[in-house]
């Protein structure tokens, strides 16, 4: 049966992209209050996500799988 799409699948482009938007929002809202440590934490995670999302889009190759047509033998 189809496995549930793990919303927290940290490999997926969707998760990383959403997390990146999250980080930007957090930085915008917390920049005045947060400590320098926290800001740098966000910064590093943000850059990491940017690289991962970019490479998923630029370097990815379309995967094609063909189901064995023997399954489709009705007449």
């Amino acid at each position: 049966m189809a496995k549930q799409k793990n919303e927290k699948d940290t490999e997926s482009f969707e998760y990383n992209y959403k997390r990146l938007q999250d980080i930007v929002d957090k930085l915008e809202s917390e920049v005045d209050d947060a400590s320098l440590d926290k800001i740098m934490e966000y910064y590093q995670e943000g850059l990491k996500l940017i690289n991962s999302c970019r490479s998923k889009l630029k370097d990815a190759e379309l995967k094609i799988e063909k189901i064995n047509s023997e399954f489709n033998n009705s007449k």
Binding site: Q21, Y42, Y43, E61, L62
Partner: protein, 402 residues
């Protein structure tokens, strides 16, 4: 008898007449839907063009179906067949005949098919299966997409090409299925069921086939197929290849695309949009962080110059200055004191010197000593005492004689 014509009339030529009839006819009958029976059917070789006569009990019309169009026929036209024809009327001036130029031809039984189509469409509509509200929306990031189509041909190639250009991080699973003929519906239902059992969680299913005639697409009007699409838990995009014709599948699917290529454009977002947004996020992050750092820097500089921050240094400096002052004072006082003492000492020295025996001697006085002791009064002396008299330049012995 002579032909009498009015001088204002001129006779037209045959060509003119034909031309006028041609424009009249071809304008009026640029599209006709006509039903009748085939007779005098002839297939011309080698061109393959079909020539026949379409008739009913009272009239007849010539017709031709060019080879390019007749290859798409789902049946072999024969004399006696009742057909429905879509076409237009043309006039052939050289022969003075008019003829139906056939675009499409259906066996007349198709009228019944059309009625069944309308009936099914109505039935499913009343059940609410076409309702907009029940249509699922497509996910933003289609990472797993199933396409049900024939395994070769332009459809799958176009679909792959567009997917690769727009969103290459996707995975496409092709489930091959026959997309025409009487087994179409059954095969696609099976493919749909199979897609829902795949291990990867599928984001979108696309049912696609290229353009074709109404007969080619007929399988997509099947009721069981329509219900299978409705029951499908994954969003279904139908791309059954015709811009203007709609099949039942198109009505029940969650999204209808005019062509398989259009389906790919709908399903896959453009990666460049995301790359652009990622670039903006990068710009924002860097801007915010460097802004924060320079703000902190300014704050620190501000603190350094702040009065309160500098107070300890000021206090220290204050003390340093006081120390210097004290030191100076001390120096001054000491020097003064020292001078004063020196003066006093000098004065005392002078006095002492003045009253010293040596100085007295130097002034001409003399000292008298008796038995080593100085005599300061004549009472201390008696007759015949032996004394020493000390002068500035020497000593004399003496005896008291009175």
């Amino acid at each position: 008898m002579e032909l009498q014509i009015k001088t204002s009339e001129t006779p037209i030529t045959v060509s003119e007449l034909s031309k006028r009839i041609k424009s009249l006819i071809e304008f009026e009958f640029q599209y006709i839907l006509i039903t009748g029976e085939i007779s005098n059917c002839k297939k011309h070789t080698p061109s393959g063009n079909f020539y026949f006569v379409l008739k009913d009990d009272k009239s007849q019309v010539s017709a031709v179906m060019w080879n390019s169009r007749s290859v798409r026929l789902a049946f072999e036209p024969k004399d006696g067949q009742r057909v429905v024809i879509k076409g237009r009327l043309s006039l052939y001036e050289t022969r003075g005949t008019y003829q139906i130029d056939v675009f499409e031809m259906f066996q007349a039984g198709l009228g019944e098919l059309q009625m069944a189509f309308e009936a099914l469409k109505q039935k499913l509509f009343e059940e609410g299966l076409f309702d907009h509200a029940r249509k699922k929306s497509l996910p933003e990031f289609p990472e797993n997409v199933v396409i049900i189509t024939s395994e070769t041909g332009a459809v799958i190639e176009d679909f792959k090409r567009i997917a690769n250009k727009r969103f290459p991080s996707a995975k496409i699973t092709l489930i091959p299925a026959t997309v025409q003929g009487t087994t179409t519906a059954k095969n696609i239902i099976k493919a749909l069921k199979f897609a829902q059992t795949l291990e990867d969680r599928i984001d979108v299913i696309c049912i696609a086939r290229g353009g074709g005639s109404i007969e080619d697409l007929w399988g997509f009007n099947d009721e069981a197929l329509a219900r299978a699409i409705c029951d499908c838990i994954i969003p279904v995009v139908s791309a059954i290849g015709h811009e203007i014709d709609f099949t039942i599948c198109d009505f029940v699917s969650d999204v209808r695309a005019a062509t398989p290529s259009a389906a790919a454009e709908i399903i896959f977002p453009d990666k460049n949009d995301y790359l652009e947004r990622i670039k903006q996020s990068e710009y924002l992050i860097k801007k915010i962080v460097s802004g924060k750092i320079s703000n902190l820097g300014e704050y620190l500089d501000g603190l350094k110059n702040n009065y309160f921050f500098n107070k300890p240094i000021d206090i220290l400096n204050d003390f340093k200055m006081k120390l210097d002052d004290r030191e100076d004072e001390l120096k001054n006082l000491t020097t003064e004191k020292f001078s004063a003492i020196k003066n006093d000492l000098n004065y005392i020295e002078k006095i002492l010197f003045n009253i010293s025996p040596e100085n007295t001697l130097k002034r001409g006085y003399s000292l008298v000593k008796k038995n080593g002791k100085y005599v300061s009064s004549s009472d201390e002396l008696v007759l015949f005492d032996r004394v020493k008299i000390q002068f500035k330049d020497g000593e004399n012995d003496a005896e008291i004689i009175s």
